[in-house]
Symmetry: C2
Subunit: 421 residues, 2 copies
């Protein structure tokens, strides 16, 4: 057993050992821990900012970009946001202990399924230290022990935040090892942790596609993952064109760098000549580069359109770039979305009941929007109160994942001595 492997096992084993205490903790106790962590974030602001200053200094030295440094940087207002986040999670209903369903069998056995925590959750993330607090809050609330592995640039900050969390748990009588911040910055520790399926129940990578693919490749533990968001807005022949334009612009430009932004606009040919010129002009005005098929180029009327390549239809730009295509009918639109999309979030704009019904049924995506912007695809906007991530998988959790994603269930069967014959 290598030294690193031993280190990973000690970490994971102590998390697993502390998990039952957190799993049994009543909602009030878990909320007290979250509240204590919020109070301690405030009272320890100075030492956290000192730790953060060390990370920033080291980051500058190794030449981190300004954008990276900005993501790494904490200040009073960012700490205040973490505090708010903890209090919001505390205010959510306890996801544990509810009854999912239940019934009685003809032989008198009474069955029900009740929600329980998964056990131990490993969260792997990149530079932003607020994820440390956010992820810990979600795990504590859902009764799971957490192993938090942040970016090495943020190691001093995360250590300081880890101390806050540990002392908050201790204060309310929960094991301080129920939330552990990995202090080692050795990259090779991650694959070791990902091999420990006997100790860790689920991995949630939070970050770019590179991180997620690396986790998927090495993990022997189930992963709740979030890959591409190639989202479409389809403007149906029966669309309200003012609504269509407003939603298309919102879906593309309100925040182009995120997974639920629109990457491809699809327009029914019967409204294309009326809709496209004005909409493209408006998009252009917002700084969007347009890549269209031949029909779009023809209809663009003075708006510069680059001819789209086959590759464009399957690209998640995460930028102010938009591919646009004109289709003959809704079948064509649905086929395009199912073939090139990433099954994340797709919208139809229509006043036609049957078109909406077919789109909802036949588009194979985790979220289907009718007459609303794709940008709403988000745990908070869905009213889940918290977001673990947006799952691009079909098993366990699909689409925006709230606290329920960090739970499983147990079958409880009660009888009066029944035996099987």
């Amino acid at each position: 057993m290598s030294e690193l492997h031993g280190q990973a096992v000690r970490l994971a084993a102590s998390a697993k050992e502390s998990a039952p205490a957190l799993a049994r903790a009543e909602g009030g106790l878990k909320n007290a821990a979250l509240s204590a962590a919020a109070d301690r974030l405030i009272s320890n602001t100075k030492s956290i900012l000192n730790a953060n200053a060390k990370d920033l200094k080291a980051g500058k030295k190794v030449g981190l970009s300004d954008a990276m440094l900005d993501r790494l940087k904490l200040d009073k207002s960012r700490i205040e946001k973490m505090v708010q986040g903890l209090r919001q999670v505390a205010a959510l209903p306890d996801p544990i202990g509810g009854v999912i369903d239940g019934w009685k069998q003809p032989n008198g056995l009474r069955l029900h399924r009740t929600r329980v925590p998964l056990g131990v959750v490993l969260i792997i993330f990149e530079s932003r230290p607020n994820v440390t607090i956010d992820a810990a809050a979600l795990c504590i609330k859902s009764g799971n022990a957490a192993i938090l592995r942040g970016g090495k640039e943020a190691v001093h900050t995360n250590k300081a935040l880890g101390r806050v969390l540990a002392s908050a748990l201790e204060e309310v009588g929960l094991p301080d090892e129920a939330v552990q911040v990995v202090e080692s910055t050795d990259r090779a520790l991650v694959p070791e942790l990902l091999s420990l399926s006997n100790y860790i129940d689920v991995v949630v990578p939070r970050g770019g596609k590179g991180l997620i693919q690396a986790v998927m490749e090495h993990s022997r533990i189930p992963v709740i993952k979030h890959l591409d968001g190639i989202c479409h807005v389809y403007i149906d022949s029966a669309a309200d064109l003012d609504m269509a334009r407003s939603i298309a612009i919102n879906a593309k430009v309100q925040r182009p760098g995120v997974c639920n932004a629109m990457e491809t606009l699809i327009v029914h040919k019967s409204v294309a000549a009326k809709f496209l010129p004005e909409c493209l002009k408006a998009l252009k005005k917002e700084g969007v580069e347009i890549r269209g098929d031949a029909e779009v180029v023809k209809l663009a009327k003075g708006v510069k359109v680059k001819l789209a390549t086959e590759e464009d239809w399957g690209t998640e730009y995460l930028d102010l770039i938009l591919s646009v295509t004109v289709v003959n009918d809704i079948d064509h639109a649905i086929r395009h979305i199912n073939a090139y999309g990433s099954h994340h979030t797709d919208a139809i704009i229509t006043r036609d009941f049957n078109a909406a019904t077919r789109f909802k049924r036949e588009v194979d995506s985790s979220s289907i929007m009718v007459n609303a912007s794709t940008r709403f695809s988000d745990g908070f906007e869905y009213g889940l109160g918290a977001e673990i991530g947006i799952s691009t998988d079909k098993l366990h959790a699909r689409g925006p994942v709230g606290l329920e994603g960090l739970t499983t269930y147990k079958w409880i069967v009660e009888g009066e001595g029944q035996i099987r014959t």
Copy 2:
């Protein structure tokens, strides 16, 4: 691209292509397909038995054991059982299209989650040809396209059953490629199929531990799997001892070779002297070999008990062997179960409310029985109407898995032009 890889891709791609038609099929149409398959099983009995005779002849030639040949063998009554199975699945409620939950957001967006099929299901199983029909029925009912890969010993039988299924689908107007029996017996095709996560949504291996571990090792596709069943019955200090004996015997001997049979009996020390001698005698009478700790050996009173080793506590015997231990209290029992068990099914026998409550809460198993035999842990006994398997995972589905395990959900969001600000 190797020839085998190409073959796997063609198979999986045609399944994926046919999946939407099955996903859209209404319950009545799916039931008509199941009913047509049942009718065709009867009308094709002769050709199925001929195909089966070929497999039996080849099996004898390569020296399959009598037990293997018996599992392979079909006759009129076994075909009749398959017919009944199809009709039973047809009679179940449609798992697709139901609404899981839904609400309205403050901005007027209306959300709901609706049940949809997973897409393409790959089922890998061993010699028993009835699994071909059973698995196909579950996939058709849940709106999933199926790829069925049976044992090579049953290849002729499975081909004949595959033709029945394909013609039944065709008869009702569904694509015949929605259920495909893999005709190649090349073992190397399996890892090729298991690499096709772009086409196949879930793998369900049905068979022994060796098969399941091989699938887990090679699969890039999520697996619904069923590993060990190391089940315990704990006789509490407040147990009704007649009930305890009846359940202990049932859990061990009614069908010792299955996953929900008891492997370890745990007895509270305060009732051990009264309970054990008689219970062990009764177990012995049923042919059960007893392996006990020192306390059990002491209390056995004339019943021969082998001293259990550390290994015994973690062994799934699947046989008429039982390990027995005496514990000081319920904490000790729960600790033993969580440490040595497989988190499958564990029972407590007690009249004490607090003991039952603690056991239900603190034992980390997919099924907890109170005053009932572990043998009830089963999809049919739970009233699920069908069983995909018993999942030993915590994500997606846990414990007995019915048709719901072959479904996922879709978020439907409806608005009147809402954009995000």
